[in-house]
């Protein structure tokens, strides 16, 4: 293996979790500052694509939480579920609810809206991650 490729791999190994952390941070801050599920999801896609380019598609895929299709499906499902609590309260579908969870001294604001955004994030990651990996996979057999 060439040394520059090795260097890239070492670099990528540490960059990948950082990129994912950054994407999560962008996802969470999206409510109050620029960011949100779409942008965060695309950042995660970029991380997966970069990982696949530096290593190979199979190892990038192993680093995904789920297979791309399942990831996208779970995202859509999560977004769908986030709208259900409102129905129980007699409100229109996808009316978001807010609350705070208290863990001792720590108070966490939670809402169904955040769940929805998480669903968007997972779906974008799954769909475009799936596309990128498949495209890259299709050329891997070409010598």
């Amino acid at each position: 293996m060439r040394s520059d490729a090795l260097l890239a791999q070492v670099f990528m190994r540490s960059l990948y979790p950082l990129l994912l952390l950054a994407s999560l941070w962008i996802l969470l801050r999206g409510h109050n500052a620029p960011g949100g599920g779409f942008i965060a999801g695309l950042l995660a896609v970029a991380a997966s694509a970069a990982y696949a380019l530096v290593f190979d598609v199979a190892s990038s895929r192993r680093r995904l939480p789920l297979a791309p299709v399942s990831l996208a499906a779970s995202g859509v499902l999560l977004a769908l579920l986030s709208g259900l609590p409102a129905l129980l309260g007699g409100l229109p579908f996808l009316t978001h609810l807010w609350g705070t969870l208290t863990f001792g001294p720590v108070e966490l604001p939670v809402s169904t809206g955040m769940l929805f955004d998480l669903g968007v994030y997972l779906c974008v990651w799954g769909v475009f991650g799936g596309y990128c990996l498949a495209l890259l996979r299709s050329i891997e057999e070409i010598p």
């Binding site: 769908l80 996808l94 929805f116 779906c123 769909v127 070409i142």
Partner: protein, 757 residues
Amino acid sequence: MNYESCDNRRGEVLGRLLPALIPAALLTLLLAALAIEPLPWRLSWTWIPSLGVDLSLYVDGLSAQFLLLIVGIGTMVFVYGSAYLAENSRRNRVFGLLVLFMAAMIGAVVSDHLLVLFVFWELTSLLSFLLIGIDHEQEEGRRSALQALLVTGSGGLCLLAGIILLGQIGGSYSLQTLIERAPLFLEDVRLNAALALIFVGAFSKSAQFPFHFWLPNAMAAPTPVSAYLHSATMVKLGIYLLARLDAAFSELLFWEYSLVSIGTVTAVLAAIQTVRERDLKRILAWSTVATLGTLTMLVGLPGNGAALAVAALFFAHALYKAPLFFVAGNLDHGTGTRAIDKLTGMRRYMPWTAAIALLAALSMAGLPLTFGFIAKGAIALAKEQAEALLLVSYAAVLVNGVSVAVAAIAAIHVFWGRDRSPLQAGLHPHEAPLAMLLPPLLLVILGLLFGLAPTMIDPLLGAAAHAMAPGFDQTMVTLSYDFLAVLEAMAGALVLGGVILLGWRRLGLLMDRFRHLEIVGPEAWYWRSLVLLPRLAARQTRLLQHGQLPRYVMTLVSVATLLVLALLLVARPGWAWPELHSLTAPVAGAALLIAAGALVAMFVRDRLVLLLVSGLVGYGSAVLFLFTGAPDLAFTQFAVETVFVVVVAAVLLRLRRTPLALGAVPTAARLRPLALAVATAFGASLTALVLLVAGLPFDNSLAVFFSEQSVPAAHGRNVVNLILVDFRAVDTLGEIAVLFFALLAVLPLFKRFGGGA
């Protein structure tokens, strides 16, 4: 054993008669209603209020006359058919269709709303198609059915256009309202166009020139169907509509001239064509066309007498032509042929049929003491009153002569002609069963009865005439028969008829010499159009569906450009170009980056460079978004562009090494002037659109709503994200579902990429 089979047989016959109960019950009901309830009857229900379509029924004398024919002849046809079709495997389908047909006919003649009438009208065309083509394994049947459908169907389209136009002119679709209001819009310039369209519809339905040719071909249908649809009822629907509208438009010269001339031409042409035929059923069909022409002519003639003549001929024709069709059916049933050359001296084998034929023929020839005589008298008087052209009278003599000859062929030639030992010709004639004799017998007896005692039918004829000509008075009926004039005309017709009968074969041969004239006839044009239309369709399809993506795109973009330009031109008075403001450096730089990237992309040859340059445009947009207050967009665009360029570049780099000749199109980088022109026009028109839209006043209320509601209602501060996640969350849910499906859709393709991804 013997008894049992006899019982079975009787049960079978009765079972086959069951369908006839439907028209019989309706006939009873109608007769009872006519006796109890004075005409006209009105009923109305709201049907489609939004379109103003009411299901309103209106039954006056004319409708009642038609109803009587529909259910009366219908009953006879059903009884007759029970025996005629006994061995036919499609019997049930024929009766089912006939019941539907009867319902459609009833609907057509009782509807007061023109559009409702039209729907029933088209239904009858459709059912006629199914009934003519009932023997769909025969090519002849299929061709004739299709011809009838295409001719009457295209006429129906014209009729619809005419009805809509008439409705627009008159402000109503109700026949009665239109007739009432007619004097108000007789001067309207659009009226002639509307009437011309209605003429096309009515003429095609009633087999008037130049649409007459479909009717003789429709004889491919079983005889009961021919007798019912193509002689007694459906083909008279066109005349019915004309007779209905006659009350409104009889004063128009266009109306009178069109109907009289087309009616006369049809009658004469049909009379001439009759002589060429050797098939009894087709002979009867052509003579039906001649009668329809006479009816059209009579509707066109002004005056009260003409209205009475129409009513009388309607009735008389049904009472003699239907039995003659039944006679033709009996001959077909008894001998297996309808060729008049083979059929002679049949009275020995089929005495009852012979008697019926004789009685019907007497009425058809218009001899005294028959109902046909009364009709002829009314016609003669009508012509006298209307001071019809001499030419029309001469035509009438010819038509009458031929109809005498046809009557003689059907009755005398076939049954009393010199017996040429039909048994040797391979025929085994036998008399028809009772069910095939009673219906025609009943009809000819009715014809005789009304001929002997016209007062029995006078009230109905008077009511029908009154519906066509409101000035007609009931008391006029009995005074309206001018027997002397008829007898005069009769003598001429009888002599002429005798000559035609004797020279039938020779006349036919003579006519056949002119058959090359057919290539300019309407039927030839029909066949030509059947060849030309698919060619035209194929050419037009090839023109639009050429299978070349660049040209499809060209069409789409050109149309879009024209639409934008048209929109801009319409808005011309409000044009206001925005002012030139100073530019901030980042925006200027971004715009420059976008424009430069786009311009280079147009002409760069290498695909990798093309990809990178397109990325430049994306990055330029991202910068632009960043400096115009849209950081969310900027980040999204950055991320998309980066992922896309990097992944596709990797793919392209790898593909370069394959034998697959990518980018091998040599013309790809050559300048294409037309494409450039279209592209420039599209871009320029959208630039103009953006600039002009920027000058328009802006409704800011949505932005204000989101700005005000974000914190209190959605507990957030990034308004763009809140619109996506909260305010319009259902849309976003839809969007991510679409994304998901886009992945699913492409999975099968991945699987095929070099065996499983």
